[in-house]
């Protein structure tokens, strides 16, 4: 069902953890659906200097969380904001159709974290 990339990110997730003094936090999902992601970002010079995730969910949920942190780390906010669920799925070399909603969640978590950061700047 899953590509090798998905299995890799599931078994060896990148950037798993919390950031206590995060500049932005995105929390998305519903435990009743079995899918929840927390994404923490640190921003320096308008770039994502650090990023971590915590996820409760299936292999696709964990893999998409891990992948999106890899895609977003070090990127300027303006670029990170554009990362879509399709980018995540592509980077993972594909997700089964029934699991596409997990990549949705990852993209939403990132955008929420950036929104949270911007909100704090005001």
């Amino acid at each position: 069902m899953y590509t090798e990339k998905v299995i890799d990110h599931f078994s060896n997730p990148r950037n798993m953890g919390e950031i206590e003094d995060a500049d932005g936090v995105g929390k998305v999902g519903n435990p009743a659906c079995g899918d929840v992601m927390y994404l923490y970002i640190k921003v320096k010079d308008e770039k994502i200097s650090d990023i971590k995730f915590k996820t409760m969910g299936c292999a696709a949920a964990i893999a998409t969380s891990s992948m999106i942190t890899e895609l977003a780390k070090g990127k300027p906010l303006s670029e990170a904001e554009k990362i879509s669920k399709a980018d995540v799925a592509e980077a993972l070399e594909g997700l089964p159709p029934i699991k596409m909603h997990c990549s949705n969640l990852a993209a939403d978590a990132l955008h929420e974290a950036i929104k949270d950061y911007k909100g704090k700047q005001k």
Partner: protein
């Protein structure tokens, strides 16, 4: 890599003896059991011997056994065949909330296409059907009650005998799906008081694609598969003699070893349960004692089932889950929902089911690995005792 198969409720490996007994029916004794020549007669003889073996194990008469393609077909015929035969008498069918989809969906089909009235009896938090609920639900229109002997997910064994007594004076037929109990605990049709009973070979070391429906003498239901009139017109189609012989051999082996194997598995199962429950925020789904000797179903807070399964799979352990993420419908298990688990709690479920080849070492390995896997997934999870479940957004699934 060490491989430990703990998904026997899903299917079991065919026993070596069964394979040996079955082989000749592919290329030596391959006749059509309906043929007049010696090839046919030999096949017919094997077929009837198999019938005696299976009927003996159930405490039934040989001509009360009807071979078919398995548990699902037996369940379908019990529900749909009864309805079509009895619909002049009434159109009410009673089933439990935790039946196998072959029963639930057959009932749903009858309701949607033929207006059958279906009542779903709830279960308590351990998965037991209260016979009084059945008593109170029966009406003059009830033509069938179907309650599974033991549930495939949580292993809970139902009070079939008691329900049988309640129904003994009523016109309604009483069916039980014994797919998970046949070969594992004593199954006697007279004791249970049933009119119809389903079994399947591949749950007890026989091949997939074969099973049987017990239909009590003088009980009439419709056939589903029409044609050459095989199985006394109840199930047409050239008999799968090889498969049926396999079912009979698996039955013989299971019957011979029943007490010893049951005791052995209960010991292993209880060791497994005791050790796994040492993990924080874990619990057992189903009844603690009225449960199948080989079934252990756990819930773990804060983590998700498919993730558990994949990590176990990477360590060579085969198991299953009631999590939505692993189903096609994105709904959590209807059984776990019926025993009162929240959706969150249903997602973190793990079912381990033992078989005759599982050893003490397998169980130790499973305990160690499950403990490790739960810890790993919990370290990744945003939820914990200090940060309990909350909704953050609703995803358009």
């Amino acid at each position: 890599m060490r491989k430990v198969y703990l998904d026997h409720a899903a299917t079991s490996p065919v026993l070596e003896e069964v394979i040996q007994t079955t082989c000749p029916y592919f290329n030596e004794l391959y006749g059509n059991a309906s043929s007049l020549h010696q090839f046919g007669r030999k096949a017919k003889e094997a077929l009837e011997n198999a019938r005696e073996q299976v009927s003996g194990a159930l405490g039934a008469e040989p001509d009360e056994i009807y071979f078919n393609s398995g548990g699902s077909e037996s369940d379908n015929q019990a529900i749909i065949g009864t309805f079509h035969k009895k619909k002049d008498q009434g159109n009410h069918i009673i089933i439990s909330e935790i039946e196998h989809p072959a029963i639930l969906d057959s009932a749903k089909y009858l309701n949607e296409r033929f207006g059958a009235k279906i009542t779903l009896i709830p279960v308590d938090s351990e998965g037991i059907v209260d016979p009084n609920d059945v008593q109170e639900t029966i009406t003059k229109d009830t033509i069938l009650v179907s309650i599974m002997h033991a549930n495939n997910e949580i292993g809970t064994i139902q009070p079939i005998e008691e329900i049988g007594k309640i129904l003994s004076d009523h016109q309604a037929l009483f069916h039980t799906d014994a797919v998970q109990t046949y070969g594992k605990i004593p199954v006697n049709v007279e004791k249970l008081g049933v009119d119809l009973l389903s079994i399947s070979a591949h749950k007890l070391g026989g091949p997939k694609g074969v099973g049987a429906l017990y239909i009590k003498k003088e009980t009439e239901i419709d056939a589903l598969i029409h044609g050459g009139g095989h199985e006394r017109k109840m199930r047409s189609g050239t008999e799968n003699v090889a498969g049926i012989v396999g079912l009979a051999k698996a039955t013989e082996i299971a019957s011979k070893n029943l007490k010893k194997e049951t005791d052995r598995q209960i010991q292993l199962r209880d060791t497994l349960i005791k050790s796994i429950l040492q993990i924080e925020d874990s619990w057992l789904n189903g009844h603690p004692t009225k449960r199948l000797p080989n079934n252990a179903n756990f819930g773990f807070k804060y983590i998700e089932g498919e993730g558990i399964l994949l990590k176990l799979d990477m360590k060579g352990i085969a198991a299953s889950t009631g999590s939505a993420c692993s189903s096609h419908s994105l709904e959590p298990s209807h059984v776990l929902t019926a025993i009162g688990l929240s959706a969150e709690d249903a997602h973190g479920s793990l079912r381990l089911t033992l078989g005759p080849k599982n050893t003490k070492e397998d169980i130790s390995y499973a305990i160690e690995t499950v403990t490790e896997v739960v810890e790993q997934l919990r370290s990744m999870s945003p939820f914990s005792k200090s940060n309990p479940y909350q909704v953050h957004s609703d995803q358009g699934h």
